[in-house]
Subunit: 424 residues, 2 copies
C-alpha cells in the first residue's frame, strides 16, 4: 500500500506520525488531509531522507533545483550545490541534470541527500536519445517510461511528468504567445507531438505511469509544460486548458491510490496570483500546489530570486504549498553555489511570509522571538534566531561600532534604546 | 502660490506639464489629481532637479535613504551612495545624516542631486542639542522649527515631520508592543513628550509648520513615528490612532494650500497590507502613501531588501505610491554603496510589479519588450532592456557557452529555441 492508501484505510503510519510531529499538528488530522489528497508525503524511498508533508495546513516547503547542463557538467559542483541548498534550509532537491553522466550524478545525489529528491525523467530519456544521434521525435514510448521506472527503482521520491500537455493544446499554443513554451520538458513533448502527430505518451499511457508510481510509492508532480514564460502570457487558454487536463489526471491518480501534486507558473502579474491559486485548488480538488516563482515581472534578470520571492509569498499566502526556488542566475545561466544559497533564502523568506499570511498556527512565533530579542538589544540572540545567522552576524560586525550594544545605523540615536529608556 | 494652489486655481504650470509628459498622462487629468491632493509634485526647489509626481495614476516611485551616522560620518561615501542610488534609478533621495558636519553634507547633496531631496529636520535639531551636551528633552520649540525653516530655505524638496505622534498616543504606546517605537524621529519626540509632559510641538504648532511649507513650497511627508517595528505590533491601536491624527492634519494642510503625503509602515504581515493601504487612503482623503517596506517578516536581517520587496510590491499593487527602499543592511548597520544599489533595485522591482498589479496603463510594456527579445533569442536586446543591464550581462557572460545564442542553463536543450523551431 502507498502512504496515500494507508491513510485512506484509516491507518497512521510511522512516516505520517513523524511528519505530524515535525509540523506540530495532530496525527489524525494529518491522516485526514493525506487521505483526501490535500497533503502528500514524500521522502519514504531512502532511509537517510527526511520525510516531508506538502499541502494544506502545513508549513510551505521549498525546493532547490540543481543539476548539470550540457555546457556545465561537473558533478562535484552540483553535489556542493545540493549540500549548500540543504544546509540553507531547502526541504527538497530536484536533480535536473542533462549533462555528463546523468545516472551517476543522480546516484550520488540519492546516496547522500538528506531531504526528498525529485527528478524530471523525460530529461534522461531525451538526453539518451540525442546522444545516440537520434532526434527528440525518435524517442519511443518505452524510452519515455523506461526512464521513469529506472529512476523510481533507484529511490527518487517525486517526479515531474508533463502529462497534461495534450496534443490538442500543443497544436494550438504555437503563435499565441509572446514567449512560447519555456518548460524544457514541455518543449520536448511539444516537438515530439508536432513531429509524430501523436498524443503525448505520458497522457496516452497515463495508467502505465500510475502503475509505476504505485509500485514504488513515488509522488507524481503533474508538470505544467505550458506554464507562461512571460507576463503577457499568464493565465491564458493554454495554461488553464492544461490545468483542467491535470485536474482530471488528479482524479485518476487518486482512484489508483497514487499521491499527486500539481505544478504551476511561471510568470504571473502579482494581481493574477490569487485567482491562479484558487483555480488550481478548485480544478484539482485541493491537490497540493507547487509553483515555480511565480515571477511577477520579466524585466529583472539577475534579480529573479527577488521577483520570485514576491510572487512566491503572494502565492503561499493564497494557498500554494510548495515553492520551487528561483536563483539570481535564472534566465542567464546555470547558478553558482552562491546563487543556490541566495535562491533558497529568497524562497524560504517567501514561504515564511506566506505562512504568516495564510494564518498558519505558530508561524509568527519565529518573528516574535527575533523581535523580542532585538527590542531587548540582545543582538546575539536576535541574530542567532534569524534565517541566516552567519550572514547577519557578518553584516552586523562589518563596521566598527561606537557603543557595543548598538548597530551603526543610528549609533547613539538608536530608537530601540531610546524607546526602552523612555519606558523605564 | 504653491504648485498645489496653482493646480487648484485651474492652472497648468510648467512643472506639471513636465511631469505629465514624463508619466505619459494628460496634463489636465494630472492637474485634477494634484488639485485634489491625490498627487504631490516635488523637486521644484532646485533648478537642476528632476520634478516628480507622487500619487494616484502615476508610476510608483522609489526613495533611497542615505546619510551619515555618529559612527560613520564620511561625506564622500554618502555622496557616492547618492550617485549610485540615482544611477540605479531612485526617484528621490533622503538625507538622514546625524554624524559629522550635517549641514555641510546636506549642502553638497542639494548642490549635486538631480532628483528631489528629502530630510527629517528633527535629526538636525536633536544632533545640535546633544552636541551642546544638552538632553533631547531640552530641545526647544524654536530649535524644532529652526531646523525646518533652515532646510526649507536651502532647497530641500520634502520633509518628514512626525506631527501625528500626539501626547495621548505617546503616553499609551509604552509597554503595549513587542518592539516599542522604532522610528528615530518618533523616538526623539516620545522622549521629549515623556520628560516635558507637553504636547508634540510639531502637532501643537502645526500652523507654524504649514507656514514654512507654504512659503517655500516644500511638500510635507507626515511621518509615522509609531510605525510598527515588528510583525507582532502591526495594525495596532497606536499605529492606527496616529494615522487618524495624520488624516486630520492632511485636511488642515490642504486648507492652507500645502501639499502633503503620508508615511506608513514598517513591519506588516503580508495579509494585512491591503487593509493598511485602504485605511490610509480612506482616513487621509486619498493623499499619496509613502511606505517603508513594508517588511513582511522580522526574521531575515541581511535580506531585508527582499522582505521589503515582497511587502512593497503588495503595497504598491494595493495603492501605495512611493516606496522607501530597504537595504540588505537594515537592522544591522549603515549600508555600503553596494547595499544602496541592491536596495534601489529591490524597491524598483517591487514598484514595477505593483504598477503591473494596479493596472497602471503601459506598465507591462516593459515586460513585453524584454520577453519578446528573449523569445527571439536576441540576448543583447533583452539584457539591454532589463532593469540592470551591466549585472545581467555579467551573469550571462560568466560561464563559457556551447552555442553562442544559448544560455548555460539548458544549453542545447533550450526550450525557447525548441519552441521557436517547433513553431517554424
Amino acid at each position: 500500500m502507498t502512504e496515500y492508501e494507508t491513510a485512506r484505510a484509516g491507518k497512521i503510519s510511522e512516516a505520517l506520525r513523524r511528519v505530524a510531529s515535525d509540523e506540530g499538528i495532530d496525527a489524525e488530522r494529518l491522516r485526514g488531509l493525506v487521505s483526501e489528497g490535500r497533503v502528500v508525503l514524500t521522502g519514504m524511498a531512502r532511509k537517510h531522507s527526511r520525510i516531508i508533508g506538502i499541502g494544506e495546513g502545513l508549513k510551505t516547503k521549498v525546493n532547490a533545483n540543481i543539476g548539470t547542463s550540457p555546457d556545465h557538467a561537473d558533478p562535484e559542483v552540483e553535489l556542493e550545490k545540493m549540500r549548500v541548498a540543504v544546509s540553507a534550509g531547502a526541504d527538497a532537491i530536484m536533480d535536473l541534470s542533462t549533462g555528463g553522466d546523468v545516472p551517476a550524478i543522480r546516484k550520488r545525489i540519492l546516496d547522500e541527500c538528506a531531504v526528498p529528491v525529485g527528478t524530471v525523467p523525460i530529461y534522461e530519456a531525451i538526453v539518451g536519445v540525442t546522444r545516440q544521434g537520434r532526434e527528440i521525435a525518435d524517442c519511443n514510448v518505452d524510452e519515455f517510461f523506461g526512464a521513469v521506472e529506472r529512476q523510481a527503482r533507484e529511490g527518487v521520491d517525486f517526479m515531474t511528468i508533463h502529462c497534461g500537455l495534450v496534443k490538442r493544446l500543443a497544436d494550438t499554443v504555437a503563435g499565441t504567445r509572446t514567449a512560447g513554451v519555456v518548460s524544457r520538458g514541455g518543449c520536448f513533448l511539444l516537438q515530439w507531438i508536432a513531429k509524430n502527430h501523436r498524443e503525448n505518451p505520458y497522457y496516452e499511457y497515463y495508467d502505465r505511469l500510475l502503475d509505476i508510481a504505485h509500485e514504488y510509492d513515488v509522488a507524481l508532480s503533474l508538470g505544467d509544460g505550458l506554464r507562461p514564460g512571460a507576463i503577457a502570457d499568464s493565465t491564458d487558454g493554454a495554461q488553464i486548458g492544461e490545468l483542467m487536463v491535470i485536474g482530471s489526471l488528479v482524479e485518476r491518480a487518486r482512484r489508483r491510490g497514487v499521491a499527486v501534486f500539481v505544478e504551476g507558473p511561471g510568470h504571473v502579474p502579482i494581481n493574477e496570483i490569487p485567482a491562479n491559486m484558487l483555480l488550481q485548488k478548485k480544478l484539482c480538488a485541493g491537490a497540493p500546489f507547487y509553483v515555480l516563482g511565480p515571477l511577477v515581472t520579466d524585466v529583472a534578470p539577475g534579480y529573479d530570486h527577488i521577483t520570485a520571492a514576491i510572487g512566491g509569498a503572494v502565492a503561499a499566502w493564497h494557498g500554494a504549498d510548495f515553492l520551487c526556488y528561483v536563483t539570481p542566475a535564472e534566465h542567464l545561466g546555470l547558478p553558482t553555489v552562491q546563487d543556490v544559497h541566495d535562491g533558497v533564502m529568497g524562497a524560504r523568506i517567501a514561504a515564511h511570509a506566506g505562512d504568516i499570511g495564510k494564518g498558519l498556527a505558530g508561524a509568527a512565533d519565529w518573528d516574535r522571538k527575533v523581535s523580542a530579542a532585538r527590542a531587548g538589544l540582545d543582538w546575539e540572540k536576535a541574530l542567532d534566531a534569524s534565517i541566516d545567522p552567519p550572514k547577519a552576524k557578518k553584516m552586523f560586525d562589518r563596521s566598527p561600532r561606537g557603543g557595543e550594544e548598538l548597530c551603526t545605523m543610528c549609533g547613539e540615536f538608536c530608537a530601540i534604546r531610546g524607546s526602552r529608556r523612555s519606558r523605564e
